[in-house]
Symmetry: C2
Subunit: 209 residues, 2 copies
């Protein structure tokens, strides 16, 4: 517990309540979807009165939007960190991509529900939080695109590659493989999954043994 009663922004108690609400909302919405999840359910799972939800968030969809921002913020930070550490250690861009794949897997391993929910909402249109989602997606994909571009500039990647499409494909590879891992063979280790994806990234699939 943090005893320091810092006044910077909000009280600790309020922050704790919001956190509880995030955690309750994320699993429920991942399981059932946004519309099928009721505010009463969220409050109950968080162990909080319904009124408290509305004391802390303007509406159900605002709660959800802030949840999205919160989660993608964590992911982006983690990807950046992985890329920077690889750079700091003077390793190549392939290693940087590999480190980001691992960071992605670690994130999904820790927050599977959030990932699930994010994927389910990402390509929807006509939803209230559409624009939030776009912004936040771009932040994450941009990190991958950045590493690819640097790799091309450094001559480490072919300059024939399409940065945007390749970044999207890499993200998809990790996302879907990880969700399948969690959903259908959760007994596998993170290292197994990472090894399979590394091999694919480095073209060691079609390569003869």
């Amino acid at each position: 517990m943090e005893s320091s009663s810092a006044k910077a922004g909000g009280s600790t108690r309020r922050e704790a309540t919001r956190q509880k609400l995030y955690e309750a909302a994320v699993t429920l919405i991942a399981e059932q979807g946004f519309s099928a999840t009721t505010v009463d359910e969220i409050a109950e799972r968080a162990g909080v009165a319904k009124g408290t939800v509305y004391y802390n968030f303007a509406s159900k969809s605002v709660l959800f939007e802030e949840l999205l921002r919160h989660g993608v913020g964590l992911l982006t930070a983690s990807l950046k960190e992985a890329a920077e550490q690889a750079a700091r250690e003077g390793r190549g861009k392939v290693d940087a991509l590999d480190a980001m794949i691992r960071a992605g897997l670690v994130f999904i391993d820790r927050y599977p529900a959030f990932t699930q929910l994010y994927v389910a909402e990402l390509w929807r249109t006509n939803r209230a939080w559409q624009s939030t989602l776009m912004v936040v997606r771009q932040e994450a994909v941009a990190v991958v695109e950045g590493v690819l571009r640097e790799g091309v500039a450094a001559g480490e990647f072919s300059d024939e590659i399409d940065v945007q499409l390749t970044a999207a494909a890499l993200v998809g590879m990790v996302l879907v493989a990880a969700l399948d891992w969690k959903s259908f063979q959760p007994e596998r280790s993170l290292d197994d999954v990472h090894a399979a994806l590394s091999r694919l990234l480095q073209g060691r699939v079609s390569g003869r043994v």
Copy 2:
């Protein structure tokens, strides 16, 4: 006596109505999600009365389930066809995978809404159609796994690869790249996207020019 009129695969009128309902439902649910889409909306977009929906389908979720089965059936058939044609022409397994990637892209190009909806629902839990979804997913992924296994047996792929994880990753690669293509840069040609994915599949990303 129940079958009075000519019955070559169901009455034409009824079949046409169901088709209209599928088409209306698929776009609405892709845009908004299952729970946020009302039966009234579906009926209105299909140009049909609400009662007709219930005359043709037992419930909203049955309509959705049959829609899922219908769509994944098309996809699976198309993937199989691509793999078989490559085999018939005596090409290798890498070519077969490449042909399946293209078949996947063609499918998504033709039915983007269905794909969107499928991805959004696939990893949910606790939903009525969960089991349908699992079965149907397995059918599609199994086609990819089959080709990978044959490739390993033929010595064309490394026997170190993890068939299940690699298949999931390949599917994810195509799925996410294609959805991004449709959502964020729809002006690109199918060939562009196919080329980018081919390159990734064949490990020509990190390879120097």
